[in-house]
């Protein structure tokens, strides 16, 4: 399946440094967005470890022909260990962590894996569907049937890479159809731009590059409170 893709990351309007990281590798079908947390430039380190670690792990997985879902989940868990190790020996990096959402495309099948609140969406036949699972308090509260959410529940992560608890990544395998459009993004987009607006842009953008530019522009116009990172992947018709 022929894919076109592009990604863009932006500081936003309120932050002094960009702690997000992204990876767009059409040749290997690997697309990643990571949103780092932690002061003193440590957030960047964590999110970079996430993107870099996935490339290495998947290169090995391709050689060994292992199950893609297991390979990607295992890779994410290994990144968690990397981040923990990196923060252990450097006091300035203590407490650094990262979310991750990755899309690995192999022919007409794809794997989505995520930890934290960075999201993956699929646009198919005019429907925008979230494929990832948010690991935040709001999502857990909704699952428990709560009608009123804890203040700031959207921003309280229940699982991260580099946290005290070993993450259990959410992973799923999907069939890719011609014309599908995939969006990976950090909460700097989803917290600023409504889903209906995101859908309009993803559905009508002429190219992935234009779509990314427009989404970043809209998030910034709405306040740009966090770093904004988007990756768009179009499956050719």
């Amino acid at each position: 399946m022929q894919m076109t893709a592009d990604g863009q990351t932006d500081l936003g309007q309120r932050r002094e440094n960009n702690e997000d990281a992204l990876l767009v590798d059409v040749d290997h079908g690997l697309f990643v967005v990571a949103d780092g947390v932690g002061g003193h430039a440590a957030g960047e380190v964590a999110s970079q470890l996430a993107t870099a670690g996935l490339i290495t792990a998947l290169a090995e997985a391709q050689v060994n022909h292992v199950d893609p879902v297991a390979a990607l989940s295992a890779a994410v868990c290994r990144v968690h260990t990397d981040i923990c190790a990196a923060s252990q020996f450097d006091p300035t990096r203590q407490g650094m962590a990262s979310t991750v959402v990755a899309f690995w495309q192999r022919g007409t099948t794809g794997v989505i894996v995520n930890v934290g609140d960075s999201r993956a969406y699929r646009l198919r036949a005019g429907n925008l569907e979230q494929l990832s699972l948010d690991h935040n308090l709001a999502s857990e509260q909704r699952r428990l049937g709560a009608t009123t959410l804890f203040p700031g529940a959207e921003h309280i992560l229940t699982m991260v890479l580099g946290g005290e608890v070993r993450p259990e990544p959410y992973a799923c395998e999907i069939e890719i159809e011609p014309g599908d459009r995939y969006l990976l993004c950090s909460d700097g987009l989803t917290g600023m731009v409504e889903e209906t607006v995101i859908q309009t842009v993803v559905q009508t953008a002429p190219t992935p590059q234009d779509g990314c530019r427009i989404l970043v522009e809209l998030a910034n116009r709405n306040g740009g409170r966090d770093n904004i990172t988007v990756v768009l992947v179009f499956a050719e018709n």
Binding site: P151, H155, E194, P206, E217, L218, R221
Partner: protein, 234 residues
């Protein structure tokens, strides 16, 4: 009272109706629900009723407990949840789920205590009210000066208005040569903005070619291909 269906390879083995607040599951005979299979730990999991809600909790089993194919530690059960223990599945049927049951507050407080790590405190501190993104003031109007469209003027109420031939376009251009995606008009707190869909689009603002997003003001004239619009803001 919920009902549990025990299945193995799609074959229904047992229907469990119990009034107990705790149902233990495992290979040991002392369990309420005994499953004689090596994939099941001696004391594998239990289903517990707390404050009117049913939870399934793994008891440190060797092979884990899964709900709807996801590995869980503790899980709030809802109707039709599929609990997998070894090679056996338990289907949780709860016809009378009462979401108003008291006690959720206590549970959530408990949760936040667990979540209260330095990282999460930092994220919480970063949190600000979400309301500011909402646009304010009366909506602007877009009048059609030239070109064939489905209406002669449009009220710009949404956060993003698309002008084009696309089915999603609110300002629907008619005619064979009309662009599918002409341009976007965004609306936020600071007002309206013009966003070209691509760098090479033929969009003009007051006669000037537009490559990047531009803020819009009252009386601006927007040209998309051979179509022309006038923006009125009150």
């Amino acid at each position: 009272m919920p009902r549990l269906l025990l299945k193995f390879n799609d074959e229904l083995l047992k229907v469990i109706d119990s009034n107990k607040d705790l149902i233990t599951i495992g290979r040991n005979l002392k369990n309420d629900l005994q499953i004689d299979n090596l994939a099941v730990s001696n004391y594998h999991a239990h289903i517990i009723c707390q404050l009117g809600h049913y939870f399934v909790e793994d008891l440190g089993s060797t092979n884990g407990t899964f709900v709807n194919d996801r590995k869980i530690g503790k899980w709030a059960l809802t109707d039709n949840d599929i609990v997998t223990v070894g090679k056996h599945t338990l289907i949780f049927l709860d016809a009378e789920i009462d979401s108003d049951t008291v006690g959720l507050e206590e549970l959530q407080l408990d949760k936040t205590m667990i979540l209260d790590t330095p990282r999460q405190r930092e994220r919480l501190a970063r949190t600000e009210p979400q309301a500011e993104a909402a646009p304010s003031g009366p909506p602007g109007r877009l009048e059609v000066l030239a070109g064939s469209t489905d209406q002669s003027s449009y009220e710009l109420t949404s956060c993003l208005t698309l002008i084009g031939k696309d089915e999603l376009a609110e300002v629907h251009l008619q005619g064979f040569l009309a662009p599918k995606v002409g341009c976007y008009i965004s609306r936020d707190r600071s007002g309206y903005g013009l966003i070209p869909p691509e760098k090479k689009s033929r969009i003009r603002l007051n006669g000037q070619e537009v490559k990047d997003a531009m803020p819009l003001k009252n009386g601006d004239q927007i040209e998309v291909a051979s179509y022309k619009f006038l923006l009125t803001l009150s």
